[in-house]
């Protein structure tokens, strides 16, 4: 038991919890924006996986991880654009479209990765290494945990806070919230609901793509089939726990990152917890936390409902 406690307060564990939280912060904050604007995006997992894939392709082709990160954003945006075309342009069913995008992204990335790299073990590509923030990274305990992370972490925190400010303090944020609460009212004041929802969805796609890129370019340095492994589903549930506030995505994601980190650490420890059970932990905890949060928040009133100007 004391071994476990030592582990949970070790800087290595907390640093890995923070690292594992990064994709969830990005995808979660993106999904908050999309859902606030009224677009349910079940395809989050697919967007992350596509981003993880295009990120590695970009970094592999150019040898530059920053171009890889850009490619990851574009990969997520591409999948989001299909979702937008189906559910905004055609006003189709949002759940089914998202589901199809998860299947399609899994199939396409698996197929293309085998076409590009054959099936053999792939080499590491150009990737991100931790950035030591001068001064801060030397603070005992907190330094290694918070200030020796990959650039994705600092970006994720800035984006989540920035989106919180935009959502609650700007005209754009007001339009997003209007589009998800009462699209007819938004339309009546002359703002295009479709354009508002498109913007939110593409932001979500870009962030989910970068979140996937954070897994492939800052954790594993390569692409592996289905490497997001359900992180997108956890991020989807996380949004409800944040009560649709992008800033809260940081805190909630850190909690889930920690459960993920426990899963990873437990395997390294010599305790008799099988691999599959530790992998299961984040999903079970997500279910439990979601169960407590489900009735506490109120989803945007027009979430999941297509809107058509009549």
């Amino acid at each position: 038991m004391s071994v476990l406690i030592d582990l949970l307060v070790s800087t290595a564990f907390l640093a890995s919890a923070v690292r594992l939280a990064v994709p969830l912060i990005l995808a979660g904050a993106g999904e908050v924006i999309s859902e606030r604007a009224g677009v349910l995006n079940i395809g989050l997992e697919g967007m992350m996986l596509m981003g993880a894939f295009t990120g590695v392709v970009g970094a592999d082709l150019t040898g530059n991880p920053w171009i890889g990160a850009l490619a990851a954003a574009l990969g997520g945006i591409a999948v989001a654009a299909i979702h937008g075309y189906v559910v905004i342009t055609w006003a189709g069913n949002q759940i089914v479209s998202g589901l199809a995008l998860n299947l399609g992204s899994l199939g396409l990335t698996t197929y293309l990765s085998r076409q590009i790299w054959d099936t053999g073990q792939q080499q590491s590509v150009a990737h991100f290494t931790p950035v030591h923030i001068p001064g801060l990274s030397n603070i005992p305990f907190l330094g290694p945990v918070l200030f020796q992370q990959s650039p994705f972490f600092y970006f994720a925190v800035a984006v989540a806070i920035g989106l919180g400010v935009v959502l609650f303090r700007s005209r754009q944020g007001l339009a997003w919230r209007g589009s998800g609460e009462d699209p007819a009212a938004l339309d009546s004041v002359g703002v295009s609901v479709a354009a508002t929802r498109w913007k939110a969805l593409l932001v979500c796609g870009a962030l989910a793509g970068i979140g996937g890129g954070a897994i492939s370019l800052a954790q594993l340095y390569t692409f592996i089939e289905n490497m997001t492994g359900g992180r997108g589903y956890i991020a989807l549930a996380l949004v409800i726990v944040t009560r649709w506030n992008p800033m809260w995505a940081i805190g909630v994601a850190l909690f889930f990152g920690a459960t993920d980190a426990v899963a990873v650490r437990v395997q390294a420890l010599d305790v008799a917890i099988p691999y599959q059970i530790s992998l299961m932990l984040p999903f079970v905890l997500t279910l439990i936390v979601y169960g407590f949060a489900a009735r506490r928040g109120r989803p945007p009133a027009a979430l999941g409902r297509p809107w058509m100007k009549s």
Partner: protein, 366 residues
């Protein structure tokens, strides 16, 4: 009360022609995608057709592939009619197959007449529990069944994976993480019809389709389920227990997926592995949508998708086109179907019809 239950754009429409056209267009687009990415179409396409319907072995494979997606698809259809989205077929199938294997191995009985019902019940009960749990979480805790069934999929799969890597593992299994085969006496028999060897699972799936068809269209319970889907407030006013119906619909969907797991185990693979399902639970959603959530439609759609799966896997074996492309094909088909049944397209068609009728009406007023 009704908030969150309405899934947005309507998904069901009884235009069978459109559904078939959508599937055909989806297959064409997927083939185009294969061509763009440099697959050898000259070899791949004939193999797709040959693997689906080209021989009696191919037809048998098509039938075998149709059974699980037909059974799970019927469950998805029940959910859709009741306004619920069961995405959990995959997890329900895995826990059911796991329960069935455990019971099959634990039973001291070798008399199939006694043992087989127990095995089937164990699987069906496990599936019903996994599905019903999502129904309960929706009814009592207000948790969206789309998200809970997705999470339960991951958990159910990992449970089965844990079992076959650990205590259920056949150590002489050639290094594969899978269980021992279930006893020969517990396996489903096959039926010979002319040159074809038809798995008994086909009969089970068709019988289930008949029963579900009667339940949904002809029974009072079916009426209440459909009312719940169309208008939950009306269902509550008319005295139905919304919570009870929700748990029942999801439990029934889980039971059917569980049955699919047992039939797949006893009639096809004979043992559990962590590659037991090549995405049956997800294909079943496409099946239910293409089949318009009607029992008859699900049967036809399951045969169609079964043929597609059989063709794709033979294409993979012979022409080295990865079966992952069949996931892409399914995604394209589902997306086209969503567009074909979208609010905008159906509204446009309605307006065109109204216009055409107005123009056809002879002007007698003058």
């Amino acid at each position: 009360m009704s908030r969150g239950r309405a899934t947005g754009a309507m998904l069901l429409s009884n235009q069978g022609v459109v559904s078939v056209a959508v599937v055909a267009l989806g297959v064409l687009l997927s083939v185009g995608l294969l061509a763009v990415t440099g697959a050898d179409l000259g070899r791949a396409l004939p193999q797709l057709a040959a693997g689906a319907v080209g021989s009696s072995a191919a037809l048998e494979e098509t039938l075998r592939q149709s059974i699980p997606i037909m059974l799970i698809g019927l469950g998805v259809a029940i959910g859709l009619r009741a306004g619920l989205f069961n995405i959990g077929g995959e997890g329900q199938l895995y826990v059911a197959a796991l329960a069935a294997v455990v019971v099959a191995q634990a039973l001291p009985l070798t008399v199939p007449l006694l043992a087989v019902p127990l095995i089937v019940m164990a699987g069906a009960a496990a599936g019903a529990l996994w599905g019903g749990a999502a129904g309960w979480m929706r009814a009592r805790l207000g948790m969206n069944e789309v998200i809970t069934t997705i999470l339960l999929n991951e958990i159910g799969f990992l449970l089965a994976s844990y079992a076959v890597h650990g205590w259920l593992r056949d150590q002489a299994g050639g290094g594969y993480p899978w269980s021992h085969k279930i006893a020969v006496a517990f396996r489903l028999p096959v039926v010979r019809v002319g040159p074809l060897t038809i798995p008994l699972g086909v009969a089970i799936a068709l019988a289930a389709a008949l029963l579900i068809g009667i339940l949904l269209e002809r029974s009072h319970l079916g009426f209440r389920l459909r009312t719940l889907g169309d208008n939950p407030d009306a269902a509550a006013y008319s005295g139905s227990s919304v919570a009870g119906l929700t748990v029942l619909a999801m439990g029934l969907a889980g039971l059917l997926a569980g049955l699919a797991g047992v039939v797949e185990l006893a009639g096809n693979q004979e043992r559990l592995s962590d590659f037991f399902s090549p995405g049956y639970g997800f294909t079943a959603i496409a099946v239910a949508l293409v089949g318009n959530a009607r029992a008859g439609g699900v049967v036809i759609a399951a045969l169609l998708f079964g043929a597609l799966r059989a063709g794709a896997s033979s294409m993979e074996r012979i022409a080295q086109v990865p079966a992952a492309t069949s996931l892409v094909a399914q995604a394209i088909i589902i997306l086209l179907l969503v567009v074909a049944r979208s609010d905008r397209l159906s509204g446009w068609i309605r307006r065109r019809r109204a216009l055409a009728e107005a123009l056809d009406t002879p002007e007698e007023a003058e």
